[in-house]
């Protein structure tokens, strides 16, 4: 009997940038992050703004990145299933608004309300996508419109806006000079997601549904359950991002989170998660969020307008998606 395994070409033997990029995106992304940081430092010095590569700026980068990091955490989970959530920014706005609206009633209650609202929005998305099989983009875009309308109505009512000091500290404070408080929210959540995707049943199912819904179904997975879960969690995480954001800004307006929508998608795509689902993870997204945050600082230093930023983010998503599609088609 010919049990001797026939020598198949293993990928390990060959080294190529593409292979490195698909097999260990983190190494490349870390390089990009460091590179862009150094680049920003050089530009800033050239413009007479002094050094950028300082402990203070690194700390600030992490402080800023937490909001995007959380928003793109939910986005990562959704995109791993092959969908996309265009309501993350509005959900974050809703979270931020709830904090400000109910701030007078103490931060525990305000935070609880914000998270419940986020979960609710996520569940509505999930029901539409998972149960009624509405196209994810249209469902989340529609829910985003509805949520924003409801928020506008609420915002016109009389109330005392207050961001509780606890939330302000959480969103903008630092401990030991350099450690932002928001990392105490972000790091545990990040750890939970990274470990959960790898070592929990639901993590496996998220990858399975995203990689091949047909195969997942044949393995007995009720895909709607997985999708509902993922969209609900995405709503929850977006609301958490909104809480940090309102703490950072110390006030909530209804446009507070909208600049984060495309970056939340871009961070995931930069992080190496496939737009078709099934491949990637949150570690890459974290680096993607950090890279975009430094890029944003760089664009600020360069005085780039919102218009230019939007175009750049759009082209990044398009370019990376094209490269990814090309790489997978080649195999």
């Amino acid at each position: 009997m010919s049990t001797a395994p026939t020598p198949t070409r293993t990928p390990r033997g060959r080294w190529s940038p593409r292979r490195l990029a698909t097999d260990s995106p983190a190494s490349i992304l870390t390089l990009v992050f460091v590179g862009i940081f150094v680049g920003t430092d050089i530009v800033n010095r050239a413009q007479g703004g002094g050094a950028f590569l300082t402990l203070k700026q690194i700390s600030t980068t992490f402080l800023f990145a937490a909001v995007l990091g959380l928003m793109s955490a939910g986005q990562t989970l959704v995109m791993l299933t092959g969908g996309v959530d265009l309501s993350v920014a509005t959900t974050a706005t809703a979270g931020a608004f709830m904090i400000s609206r109910f701030g007078t009633e103490g931060s525990p209650k305000a935070i609880a309300i914000a998270l419940i609202v986020g979960l609710g929005v996520g569940l509505v998305n999930g029901i539409g996508v998972a149960v009624f099989r509405v196209n994810a983009l249209i469902m989340t875009l529609g829910v985003s419109t509805i949520t924003l309308g409801l928020l506008t109505v609420q915002a016109q009512k009389q109330f005392t806006a207050l961001v509780p000091s606890f939330v302000v500290t959480l969103g903008s404070g630092r401990v030991l000079t350099y450690v932002p408080y928001d990392l105490f929210v972000w790091v545990p959540i990040a750890a939970l997601i990274i470990l959960g995707l790898r070592y929990s049943g639901i993590g496996r199912m998220i990858y399975a549904v995203g990689d091949s819904p047909v195969a997942a179904r044949l393995a007995g997975v009720r895909t709607w359950q997985v999708l509902l879960f993922v969209y609900a969690i995405c709503g929850l995480l977006s609301a958490a991002a909104g809480i940090l954001l309102v703490g950072f800004n110390n006030a909530a307006d209804l446009g507070i989170a909208s600049p984060f929508l495309l970056p939340s998608v871009a961070a995931v795509v930069i992080g190496g998660t496939s737009i078709f689902g099934g491949l990637g993870g949150y570690a890459g997204t974290i680096l993607g969020a950090l890279i975009l945050t430094v890029l944003d600082s760089l664009l600020t230093i360069l005085n780039a307008s919102q218009a230019v930023r939007q175009i750049i983010y759009g082209l990044i998503v398009l370019g990376l998606a094209a490269i990814y599609a090309h790489a997978t088609a080649a195999e």
Binding site: T3, T6, T8, P11, D23, G201
Partner: protein, 502 residues
């Protein structure tokens, strides 16, 4: 050879899809004014050859001469220009357009098509949407459209498979008329009686090669079948004896009183018509059928992928009403599908693929016991000799190893009945043997296995009993030892009604 120039002469055509060699070196010569049949078992390369000749796909190498001159057929449009008009197996009518719009889309005159249809004694409302036209009539419209071009060569790919006999008769009349007018027809079919009745010559493909070209004669079915089988059939039987896995072994009878692992009673669904059979623990039951005789629907219904429209399924004595594969899997009925890429998560690791069904229930979404999972997966991998060197993404594995992963999945997760739909399609001989031995071992350990294959040589090697299907119904129930290819092929073609009942 006569001095006249052949209408079409294809030499040494080859085409492979990834690791699967669909055509190795196919030759085909068609003379003017002849009706030529193209025959072969499933997967012999018939459809691939037709697609190459009609420009739908391009061959890897080989030459095509039309009227003695080299021809490049790069697209369906080019094929049409040199006088080849195909009627494909897949409908070429766009479902959301009306028939007349469909005609305009291809630049065909509706009036001309209507004229051809009238010549066939058919009437069609051209303002009907194609999706509302019954499938047989769609095929006739396809045929009429091809005829309006007055093609030098008309290619009919299994057109009669979807036709009732009265319409099939009209197709034969068309072939007859073409021959009278000096036009040629290439006719692909599974029905040998049709070939004998209406074809001048037949070319037989086996494993992507043309093994014979002959003039079919009354009572010549046996010779055709012999060519379709090839000498390998005999060799395979010897191999079976060597393996000691043949059905000739005396199997211990299933304990009396135990409910069968799977009991199907009066099942309807899709093309399945009133099927009833029992599958016992320790038994491998084969299902042999030509393409499209209901085997796909049978496996889909049993595995929960499709709802039956009538009848009852019992798994280990309990009624199984599967609305989702999850229900079947819970009842211990699991599927190893034909298309491995349907069953696998191509971008995930072997381990994740094997373990996937473990977490398909809400209650198992929590942390994974990695040690337990690792042990189960390793055991399954070892039982199947899976080469795990490229285990990070199963799409990088060879076809044989991929198929082993789909089987390993159920070994690691437990089952009572395994539905294997063509599990050895497109994998190498060594791995095939491993799979035969494995299936037998599983059965010996008490599993029940329902086994469909498109390779008839496998049935006597693997099965205790074989059912043949024709038109969605069971036509024969043969003991495994008696299920040699010739017998099966006759039963599958509906040629051996007398032998049907055992």
């Amino acid at each position: 050879m006569t001095a006249t120039v052949s209408l079409l002469e294809a030499r040494d055509l080859a085409k492979s899809y990834g690791p699967v060699q669909a055509l190795r070196s196919a030759d085909l010569v068609i003379e003017p004014g002849e009706v030529h049949a193209l025959l072969g078992a499933n997967g012999a390369g018939k459809s691939t050859l037709v697609k190459v000749l009609t420009g739908v796909i391009s061959a890897d190498h080989g030459t095509v001469l039309v009227n003695g001159k080299p021809a490049r057929i790069g697209s369906p449009a080019q094929a049409a220009r040199i006088g080849l008009a195909p009627v494909f197996q897949d409908p070429a009518l766009v479902p959301d357009l009306t028939i007349s719009q469909n005609m305009r889309l291809t630049g065909t005159s509706s009036a001309a098509v209507e004229h051809e249809l009238r010549a066939l004694d058919l009437a069609v409302d051209f303002s009907d949407q194609a999706r509302d036209v019954p499938l047989p009539m769609q095929r006739m419209i396809d045929l009429a459209r091809a005829l309006t071009r007055d093609p030098a060569l008309l290619l009919l790919d299994e057109i009669t498979a979807a036709l009732p006999s009265d319409l099939a008769e009209r197709v034969f009349a068309v072939m007859q008329r073409s021959r009278e007018r000096g036009r040629s027809v290439l006719f692909i079919t599974h029905r040998l009686k049709e070939v004998i009745a209406s074809c001048d010559r037949a070319t037989i493909l086996r494993d992507g090669r043309a093994v014979a070209t002959m003039a079919p004669r009354e009572g010549g079915e046996e010779r055709i079948v012999e060519h379709m089988l090839g000498p390998e059939a005999a060799r395979a039987s010897v191999a079976a004896a060597e393996q000691g896995a043949g059905a000739a072994d005396v199997r211990p009878a299933a304990p009396a009183g135990e409910a069968p692992a799977l009991k199907v009673d009066g099942l309807f669904g899709g093309r399945v018509r009133n099927m009833s059979f029992e599958l016992r623990r320790g038994e491998i039951l084969g299902v042999a059928a030509l393409e499209g005789q209901g085997q796909d629907d049978l496996f889909a219904v049993l595995s929960g992928g499709q709802s039956p429209s009538g009848g009852e399924i019992r798994a280990a004595g309990r009624v199984l009403k599967a609305r989702h594969p999850y229900d079947s899997i819970r009842a211990g009925v699991v599927l190893v599908p034909a298309d491995r890429l349907h069953a696998l998560l191509p971008q995930r690791s072997v381990r994740e693929n094997v373990a996937a069904p473990r977490y398909n229930s809400f209650s198992r979404w929590g942390p994974i016991n990695m040690r337990d999972e690792g042990r189960r997966v390793r055991e399954a991998e070892q039982a199947l000799h899976i080469d795990t060197r490229a285990a990070r993404q199963v799409r990088r594995l060879s076809g044989g190893n991929q198929q082993k992963v789909t089987i390993a999945r159920w070994l690691a997760n437990g089952f009572t009945t395994m539905l294997c739909f063509d599990p050895t399609r497109g994998i190498d001989v060594g791995t095939k043997r491993q799979i035969y031995v494995l299936l037998r071992r599983l059965a010996d350990d008490g599993a029940a296995i329902l086994f469909f294959s498109s390779e008839l040589t496998e049935f006597p090697l693997v099965c205790d009993r074989v059912l043949t299907l024709f038109g969605g119904e069971i036509t024969a129930d043969l003991p495994g030892a008696a299920a040699d290819e010739a017998t099966l092929l006759r039963a599958m073609h509906g040629l051996a009604e007398s032998q049907a009942g055992t």
